[in-house]
C-alpha cells in the first residue's frame, strides 16, 4: 500500500463518523466604520504611507519629485511610461535585482488591515513587488472595502497562478522585538489612492 493510501486509510479510521457542519460566514464583517479613513490610519500604523491623487499625471509628478529617476524604475502601468520602464516582464526574474522602485496596480484594498490584493496578471512578474528596494501601489479609492470577508467575496472564483495581499513594507522584529522596516522585501511602501 502506498503512503498515500496508508495515510488516508488511517485518517478514515480515526476521523469521527459524523461530519460537523460548516458555520455561516454571512454574519461576519458587518461592523460599520469609515472605510477610507481606517485604511489610511492602519497603513500608517504598519509603516506604509499614502498620497491621494486625482490622476496618473499627479502620480508621475510625485514620483519625479520623490524618487531618484536615474535608478531603475519599473512599472506595469502604461500611463507611467514617462517615469518608468514597461519592457521587463519577460526578463529572467533574477535580473530585477537592481530595481529601485516597482509601481503596480492593486485590484482592491482592505481597510481593516490596509492589505492590497494583487495577482500575477497585474504583477508583471511574481518577484517584482518583493525584490524591489521600494514599492508603490495604485488603488482606486472606490476599491477600498471594509474587511477580509468582503475581500474574499470579491475574489470569488478569480483565476490566478499567484496572488498576494501586501500590507505595508517588508519588516522584522526578530532582534529583541525592535521593528525594522525592509527585511527581505521592499523597504518602503507608498500607496497612491486614486480618485
Amino acid at each position: 500500500m502506498s503512503s498515500k493510501d496508508q495515510i488516508l486509510q488511517k485518517i478514515k479510521n480515526s476521523q469521527p463518523n459524523i461530519v460537523a457542519d460548516l458555520p455561516d460566514l454571512n454574519i461576519l464583517g458587518s461592523d460599520q466604520f469609515e472605510v477610507l479613513d481606517t485604511y489610511k490610519t492602519v497603513l500608517k500604523n504598519i509603516g506604509g504611507d499614502f498620497v491621494e491623487v486625482a490622476n496618473y499625471d499627479e502620480i508621475s509628478a510625485y514620483l519625479k519629485q520623490n524618487y531618484a529617476l536615474e535608478r531603475r524604475i519599473i512599472t506595469t502601468v502604461p500611463e507611467l511610461s514617462e517615469v518608468a520602464v514597461l519592457d521587463w516582464k519577460n526578463e529572467d526574474p533574477h535580473l530585477l535585482q537592481n530595481v529601485e522602485l516597482t509601481i503596480i496596480k492593486a485590484h482592491f484594498g482592505v481597510a481593516e488591515n490596509s492589505a492590497l490584493w494583487v495577482t500575477d496578471d497585474i504583477l508583471g512578474q511574481r518577484v517584482a513587488p518583493f525584490i524591489t528596494q521600494y514599492l508603490a501601489i495604485i488603488v482606486n479609492k472606490s476599491d477600498i472595502i471594509p474587511t477580509m470577508h468582503q475581500a474574499y467575496e470579491r475574489i470569488g472564483n478569480q483565476e490566478y497562478g499567484f496572488g498576494t495581499f501586501i500590507a505595508g513594507p517588508s519588516k522584522t522584529a526578530d532582534i529583541e522585538q525592535s521593528l525594522v522596516l525592509g527585511a527581505h522585501g521592499a523597504r518602503g511602501l507608498i500607496v497612491f489612492l486614486l480618485e
Partner: protein, 467 residues
C-alpha cells in the same frame, strides 16, 4: 534524528532561571507581545464570533479530512502542482532529498517551516551533503548559532541584541560591538539577498491549504518565502495534513485571526496564495502525517490538530515566559507543544504536560478555541496510567492517596508534620525535599482544622443545649 540526552523541562527551566535579569526580560518581552495581541483583538467587535467560527471550520475539517485531502490533491494536480505523501518524518526527508537529487542541486533556501523542524530536515540534508540556509531572520540567527528556534513565530526571542551582534560579527563580519537592530538586520538582508539570487530550490511551509482550489497560502512579514519561491526553479512546500481548510472564503476568517493572535498586527505583510507554478518551473507539495492520524483518533487530544501556529498560547503562558522555548525540547514549545509532543513520543515528552500551572490562559487566547489546559490535564492522567512519570512522583502520589483515604493515618501524619515543621524545620526545609525547591514551606498552625472543628462543634453544641 538527534540522539542527545534530553534534559527534562523542570531541570532546563531551573538553569534558565539562574540569570534573573534575563528571565525577567524574556518574561516581559513576551508579555508585551501578548498585550499587543489583546489590543488588536479588542479592536474587532466580531473577535469572539471569529474565534468560534474558526473553531467550527476546523471541527468540520477534522471530521472530513479524508475527503478534503482527496479533493485538495486532485485540484492541486489540476493546477500543475506535484503532490507527495509522507507517512512519517523519515519519508518526508527522503522525498525532499529526492527532489533535490533529481535536479542535481546541493543548496536550498528555506523559509519558516516548523514541520521541517519537527522532521529534523536540516540535519538529514546536511548528512547528504546539502546546504540549507534558513532565511527568516530569527531562524537565520539561531541557525548560525547551531540552536533550534525557541518560539514558532519569534525563533530568536531568547536572544538579546548583544548575542545577535556577537554571532553576526563572527559569521558575517559585522562590526564588533554594534548592537543596532537596524544595522544587524541590514547586514543579514545583504547576505541573504545573495542567497535568494543563487538558489535553485526553495522550501517553504504552508499556513493554509484550500481543498476547493488546490492552492496554498504562506504568510510572512519579511517576504523571505516569496523571495525564495519566485526566484527558484523548484518550490517545495511542506505541510502537515491538518493545514487544510475547505474553501477559499474561509481564509477571510483565518487571516483575520492569525497575525492579530501572533503579534498583534492586523495581518502579516504578505499573505501569498500559490496556485500554479510559473511557466517551466515546479511546485511540489509534501503532505505529511507523522503521527497526526494517531492524534486524530485520540478523542481527548484530536482538537490539538486545529492549531494554526500563531504562538499566542506561548506568549501568555507564565511557565513558557519564565522557562524559555528550549526547555520544552520539542520543535513546537509552550502549551500547544506540550499537548502535541506526547503524541509523537510519550516517554520522551512525558515531562511536558506537567510544565503548566493549568491556569487556562492559553485556552482563553487560542484563536481556534483549543481546550489546551484541559488537554494538558488529560495528558497527565494518560502518562501516569501508562507509567511514564518519574518513580519518585509515583511513590509520593501513591503515599498521598493512602494518607488521604484513611482518616487515622491522615490525623497522625498531620500531627507529626506540624511537630516536625515547628520543632525541627531543617528536616523538611532541605534539598532532599523536592517540594521545597521552588517554594517556602507554610507556617505551622497551632491546631489542624479537624481539631478546631471538633472543639468548636462541641462548644456550639453545648451552647445550643443551654438554650
Amino acid at each position: 534524528m538527534s540522539s542527545k540526552k534530553i534534559i527534562e523541562h523542570s531541570e532546563a527551566a531551573t538553569r534558565f532561571n539562574k540569570d534573573v535579569e534575563r528571565v525577567n526580560w524574556h518574561d516581559e518581552t513576551l508579555w508585551f507581545v501578548r498585550e499587543k495581541r489583546d489590543r488588536a483583538a479588542h479592536n474587532i467587535p466580531d473577535w469572539e464570533l471569529l474565534r468560534e467560527t474558526a473553531s467550527q471550520i476546523k471541527n468540520n475539517v477534522l471530521s472530513n479530512i479524508h475527503d478534503y485531502l482527496v479533493e485538495f490533491e486532485a485540484n492541486a494536480q489540476k493546477n500543475g502542482i506535484i503532490v507527495h505523501w509522507a507517512a512519517d518524518a523519515k519519508e518526508h526527508n527522503e522525498i525532499v532529498h529526492s527532489i533535490m537529487a533529481k535536479h542535481d542541486v546541493k543548496q536550498m533556501v528555506k523559509s519558516k517551516s516548523m514541520l521541517t523542524e519537527e522532521c529534523h530536515l536540516n540535519d538529514y540534508l546536511a548528512e547528504k551533503g546539502i546546504e540549507v540556509i534558513d532565511s527568516d531572520l530569527g531562524e537565520f540567527i539561531v541557525q548560525l548559532r547551531k540552536e533550534p528556534p525557541s518560539h514558532i513565530v519569534l525563533p530568536a526571542i531568547h536572544l538579546k541584541k548583544e548575542d545577535v551582534s556577537e554571532t553576526f560579527h563572527e559569521h558575517l563580519g559585522t562590526e564588533k560591538g554594534n548592537f543596532d537592530p537596524q544595522y544587524l538586520t541590514e547586514s543579514a538582508r545583504l547576505t541573504l539577498r545573495n542567497t535568494f539570487l543563487t538558489r535553485k530550490v526553495a522550501l517553504t511551509g504552508v499556513n493554509f491549504a484550500i481543498a476547493e482550489t488546490g492552492e496554498f497560502v504562506v504568510c510572512t512579514n519579511e517576504g523571505n518565502a516569496d523571495m525564495g519561491a519566485h526566484l527558484a526553479d523548484v518550490h517545495i512546500a511542506c505541510m502537515g495534513f491538518e493545514k487544510l481548510i475547505p474553501q477559499r472564503k474561509h481564509l477571510g476568517v483565518f487571516l483575520r485571526l492569525l497575525a492579530r493572535s501572533a503579534t498583534g498586527q492586523p495581518i502579516t505583510t504578505f499573505s501569498s496564495h500559490f496556485k500554479k507554478p510559473r511557466d517551466g518551473k515546479e511546485i511540489h507539495i509534501v503532505i505529511v502525517d507523522n503521527g497526526r492520524s494517531t492524534q486524530l483518533g485520540r478523542e481527548d487530544f484530536k482538537n490539538s490538530l486545529k492549531c494554526i501556529r500563531c504562538g499566542a498560547c506561548m506568549n501568555t503562558c507564565p511557565v513558557y515566559r519564565r522557562s524559555g522555548g528550549h526547555s520544552y525540547h520539542n520543535a513546537v514549545a509552550g502549551p500547544i507543544g506540550a499537548i502535541l509532543a506526547p503524541n509523537l513520543d510519550m516517554s520522551k515528552n512525558a515531562d511536558l504536560p506537567f510544565a503548566s500551572t493549568l491556569c487556562g490562559s492559553c485556552t482563553n487566547v487560542c484563536p481556534v478555541k483549543i481546550d489546551i489546559h484541559d488537554q494538558l490535564y488529560k495528558w497527565r492522567q494518560v502518562l501516569v496510567k501508562e507509567g511514564h512519570t518519574p518513580a519518585a512522583k509515583t511513590v509520593a502520589m501513591k503515599t498521598m492517596a493512602t494518607v488521604l483515604a484513611n482518616p487515622m493515618i491522615f490525623n497522625i501524619a498531620g500531627k507529626s508534620g506540624r511537630f516536625v515543621m515547628k520543632n525541627i524545620p531543617a528536616l523538611v526545609n532541605n534539598k532532599m525535599n523536592k517540594w521545597y525547591d521552588q517554594r517556602e514551606m507554610p507556617s505551622v498552625p497551632e491546631e489542624s482544622f479537624r481539631e478546631w472543628y471538633k472543639k468548636n462543634s462541641r462548644e456550639a453544641k453545648a451552647k445550643k443545649d443551654e438554650q
